[in-house]
Amino acid sequence: MVPLSWYLMFAAALFSIGLFGVLVRRNAVAILLGVELMLNAVNINLVAFWRYGDVTAMAGQVFAVIVFAVAAAEVAVGLALVISVYRRRNTVIADELDMLKW
């Protein structure tokens, strides 16, 4: 049997990789890809806690379902913003979107 620690370490590694993507990528779409990885890592933890705790208490799975809904909403709005920005500024590089800086 796989101990809980393996799943937690797996999720932590996935979260860190996603964080790396968010921090270093220049393209706004690629940053959102990193955010997706982080959300998935969280979901693995939630489902693992459900399985390793009391399986008749469904809170873990319910939270995972709600994270799905939030992720879908986040991607829809995020990508709509990216496309809207691209239409106005003709770029999706996050560094070049600096109109609010000065």
Partner: protein, 171 residues
């Protein structure tokens, strides 16, 4: 090592490898396709955890909708199909250090927790997770309110996405 542990190791290595490709590939369409591969690996991990419903929903929602949306967005935001310029920040090494530190911190915090080495109990016979999940999502004693709020959020996101991405100059 038991068979289950070997399978977990393979799935985890595959998923993490794909995730690394997502954040390092230069070609963004490839990055989105690697994301699909990662999400598939995560779905297998859910299946290993006996969460059938979550695994199938992962494929339907993430691969069927979110990944496709990403591929569309990548194609719509590029003047040509080639990748020009660097794909990463100048100080990417700082990002790498932060990511490693976060992983180390998480590992340190978790390893101090008493339930870290827990093993799962066998599922009871005739255990039906789906009907329990359905009841939990619709029962007033459980999670009906978060469920409703999530659906309102989805509706708001739908309206907002259409409004933001709508191009008023084209009539």
């Amino acid at each position: 090592m038991t068979a289950q542990q070997i399978i977990f190791m393979i799935v985890a290595a595959y998923t993490l490898g794909s995730a690394l490709m997502v954040v390092t590939t230069r070609n963004l369409v490839h990055a989105a396709l690697w994301l699909v591969s990662t999400l598939f690996g995560v779905a297998v991990a859910y299946a290993l955890l006996n969460a059938n419903f979550i695994a199938v929903v992962q494929v339907v929602v993430y691969i069927g909708a979110i990944a496709i949306l990403f591929i569309f967005a990548v194609m719509l935001t590029r003047k040509d199909m080639r990748d020009s310029g660097p794909q990463m920040n100048r100080n990417w090494w700082a990002g790498a250090i932060v990511a490693v530190l976060v992983f180390a911190g998480l590992a340190f915090l978790l390893s101090g927790w008493s339930g870290f080495q827990n093993t799962a109990a066998e599922l009871p016979a005739e255990f039906d997770a789906i009907s329990l999940l359905g009841e939990a999502l619709t029962s007033p004693q459980a999670f009906v309110l978060p469920f409703e709020v999530a659906s309102v959020l989805l509706l708001a996101a739908l309206v907002g996405a259409v409004y933001v991405a709508f191009n008023p100059t084209k009539k």
